[in-house]
Symmetry: none
Subunit: 191 residues, 4 copies
DNA sequence: TATGAATGAGAATTCATTCAT
DNA sequence: AATGAATGAATTCTCATTCAT
């Protein structure tokens, strides 16, 4: 009978948090600012998130979830490994370029003490489909055998670094450059 | 007031800062804790560093300086490009593995609003010898032509990601794995 | 707006308040908790009580009323002073032992700034029959002459202290001990 | 070499706290007000007391300590039981009348959830000399045998109630009334 | 220089009360 | 009447920085 709990508020809070973290870094993130940017009273934040840490952790998870599922979008087990690899890699790149703040938020916090162990764990779990796919590639001798962590680092590291550089230097990648990046990624890991 | 001479204290402060940032993230870095860990009074910190931001900026530059010069150690213009590339790459990897906290401090802050523009600029300048070297490789058609930012991202990204993973998961790289990483790096950028 | 009729709800609120005050002290008394413990929404509280202070004041008066009238129960002007004194004193003791939370609530708030002057006054008025009775005893030279405040303090003080001790130490009084307490009370004030 | 920690600040804080609790009850006690009343910055409070609860607990203990030792002042094992009893009782009464805020602070908090178990325990310990004395009186058959809690309640209850009444009604006790109170106390417990 | 007590602006969080449903 | 989400003023506590010694 009362005002129903407004679920769009969560999105507004996430959006505001992201925007503010991007603008002034995590350190400068003030709950009061988040509330204002999200168009609500401070206290309202605390209806949806128990405290600042929880907000950060849930935002992280939400972003990681969305990012991961969008990367896996269009995954078709019937396609060849190489085709799928290319598709996933480009998904990830375009996602990163289109929403660098989201990507960098994840990157920035992934190894930080803000995140609880549980959050890190849950975040890792989301990568399982990707890991399974890559594992398969190694078994089929399409890509080289190596510990999964190294493989992921090899593939994601350059993308992260690129969007960081792009962020601070306002560069724009041409299609040819993207293609070049992909080829580097592929050459580095393929037999 | 000129910078006091006591380099011992400065080192102690840097060391303490690094240790604390590693332990509880930058967010939890308190000047009082730095002072205690460095074995001095809070006030003393402010004799050596005007404020917290200056401390962070100077530590960043000091680390970047040291890291860069150690990476370039043994650089000999007479060596072949490939040999030098291998030497520099391994220098960088070993450096990163030996002192991950230092490396991650740099990485973590490099794109952060804690750093002033000037600091970022000075940090970039230190990379010039490396950049000149890589430029040369591109001109000699030994490595592929691409914007320098992409090249650096391609080479450094995987190393950063690897040490992050190594930090949180306590992995140790075998010599064969290191060699594998190098080969991926080389294959990705060489003609 | 006249007081709504639903006495059930008022009782539930009183009961919940009492329970919570006992558990975590007045300081920790939150309206939201009262509402939950009373099985209703926060807003509903405010239909029955204008605000927290009013709730406290009305609860106080209600308790004092009930306590006083139950103490006076069975008062019969035809009985001897001594018999009546004994009856009233035991009524009060048994009441206090049976419902210490209620008694302590009154005690605890009686001299507190939560209560308005009006409430205190109304509370005092309820004691008038008792005061008249004691006054009579002094006039008849059955009990010693002294200011009424001193007399009341002498009679009630030990009972309050006893139930406080009993509360925190979980003691149980034997009939002999109760009798002993009565004798002390009587000896202290009787000629 | 720095400003030495100023121990008189603790007294200033205690004094300010007491004054404010008396004025507006514990509920209205704001740390900012305490600081202002004590003539220092808010932060300074937290140098001397970790938080509000600790402040309350330590003040309680300090008051109980001082009150108890002053009550026992002049205790001489060579004196007769009755003389000592009278001396202690009057010490307690005069103390209570002279510093009712201090006494009521103790009374008010003694059974409250603000106090930790440890504090309550420590507070109880301070009464041991008094308890030993009274025990002795019971053994010598000078005062009646009963559980110590009842005896203490009987003796202290009337005093507490009296100062509460005195506080709110601004009464002043005459010497004859004090003597009357003592006699009631004595008659109630003596054989 | 060195110290560490003192400062006080600022941040997170709470909670009595309101109000849209 | 009843609900409970929303509000935002108020409060506790923190911590970078200053300054008396």
């Amino acid at each position: 009978m009362a005002r129903p709990k407004d679920e769009t508020k969560i999105d507004a809070i996430f959006e505001a948090t992201l925007k503010l973290v991007q603008k002034s870094g995590f350190n400068g993130l003030k709950m009061a600012d988040v509330a204002k940017a999200a168009g609500m009273a401070t206290g309202t934040l605390y209806i949806y998130f128990k405290n600042k840490d929880v907000l950060i952790n849930e935002l992280f998870l939400s972003l990681k979830q969305s990012k991961t599922s969008r990367m896996m979008a269009g995954y078709d087990a019937a396609d060849s490994f190489a085709d799928t690899f290319r598709k996933l890699w480009f998904n990830y790149l375009e996602l990163s370029l289109a929403e660098p703040e989201r990507m960098l938020f994840i990157e920035q916090f992934a190894h930080t003490s803000f995140l609880t162990k549980k959050t890190k764990q849950q975040g890792d779990q989301m990568l399982e489909p990707l890991i399974a796919f890559l594992e398969q590639g190694m078994q089929k001798k399409i890509i080289r055998k190596m510990p999964m962590d190294l493989l992921l680092s090899q593939l994601m590291g350059p993308i992260y670094e690129t969007i960081k550089a792009q962020q601070s230097k306002k560069l724009v990648l041409t299609p040819a450059q993207k293609q070049g990046m992909f080829e580097m990624a592929w050459r580095s890991v393929a037999f």
